[in-house]
Symmetry: C2
Subunit: 215 residues, 2 copies
């Protein structure tokens, strides 16, 4: 059953980038599990899912990451912290992984998907997009970020997306060097503090007429 | 009021990239207006909203775009077609636009936001991110794409994200050359055809344990 559009828009109006989280208030396990499922269900180009989502539970690791995040309090104060990792490259083995998973889920022989594999190969491995694959994989990962923030707002969970961090230092602290993944973007999640003065500020959006044009 | 997590996950499970839209079935005006509002409410870095959303209503223009979109039927058959435009560069005038809008919405003197303006300037106009501003602006635009697809699914509207198109040809046909915006990604919206054989295929996702890691 679809939800009412007022529920959607109320949630999106309620959402803002939290500056000060309530450190004492944790996201309930069942709610967090739903948000993990929402991440898994994120759409991606070709269905390739070129990402991993690192949930940083360890307070000591969060404390280590904070100075490499413009010292933003959300890194240590939010209930949950997710580092969105993007695949560095797309290689034939990544295509095989998807083909095998697809064949298994749909009761097919992988050979029946050879054409699909070739399409991806010509685009992402050997084709025009391979030269800028970091752009492509970042873009996909930002779909996950957008989906996550909207899903969280609908469940009454606050978020703060964070681009202000040092990817090389994150990669080092998270032991990503030499792995197929790199840190791409970060998002904190939890509940706004009653002391967050930003919660009472008017939302700033350009008028719809400036942002949407019909042709 | 938050929605139930089952409603969220049911919608995300129901969603898939539509191959064949029901050409006869149009999105009701009130539903579409809510989706436009959802686009406007998309979060962006610094709140800069570096995008425009072109809704292509003209069937003749859609027919012109289709051959530059791998001839995909969704371009002409879907109820609605959105071309997501990303800002080519971020310049000081873009910062001024946001500062003026923020000051107006919050009853401030723009001078009070000088520090915020300087922060953006040092990052996006003169700083490290300025060298790869197309990556940054694409990423922001993909947040809008993710938000849009999730919002649509929750309202019972089907979508198909489309990266398979020629941005230079789109820019030409949409008269974007020489403007501050470039075509970034496309999304069709409407309702699945009962003849879309993809609607009955199992969704393919890697196991949660492979996609989400706790540290």
């Amino acid at each position: 059953m679809p939800i009412a559009s007022t529920d959607l828009l109320d949630s999106l109006m309620w959402r803002y980038a939290i500056k000060l989280f309530d450190h004492e208030r944790k996201i309930p396990t069942t709610t967090w599990e739903a948000l993990e499922q929402a991440l898994v269900l994120t759409p991606s180009s070709y269905g390739l899912q070129p990402w991993t989502f690192l949930v940083i539970d360890d307070p000591a690791l969060r404390t280590e990451l904070r100075p490499f995040s413009w010292n933003q309090a959300q890194i240590t104060e939010a209930s949950h912290l997710v580092v969105f990792l993007a695949r560095r490259r797309i290689e034939d083995r990544d295509l095989d992984r998807l083909i095998i998973a697809t064949a298994a889920a749909r009761g097919l022989d992988p050979e029946q998907l050879a054409g699909y594999r070739e399409l991806m190969h010509k685009d992402l491995v050997a084709g025009p997009r391979s030269a800028r694959i970091d752009l492509w994989s970042s873009n996909q990962t930002y779909i996950a970020l957008g989906n996550f923030m909207t899903a969280a707002a609908l469940l009454g969970v606050d978020t703060c997306p964070i681009e202000g961090f040092s990817p090389p230092d994150y990669d080092r602290l998270l032991a990503l060097d030499g792995t197929p993944y790199r840190s791409c973007v970060v998002c904190a999640a939890g509940y706004r503090s009653t002391n967050d003065k930003y919660s009472s500020l008017a939302k700033v959006r350009y008028p719809l007429e400036e942002l949407i044009e019909h042709r």
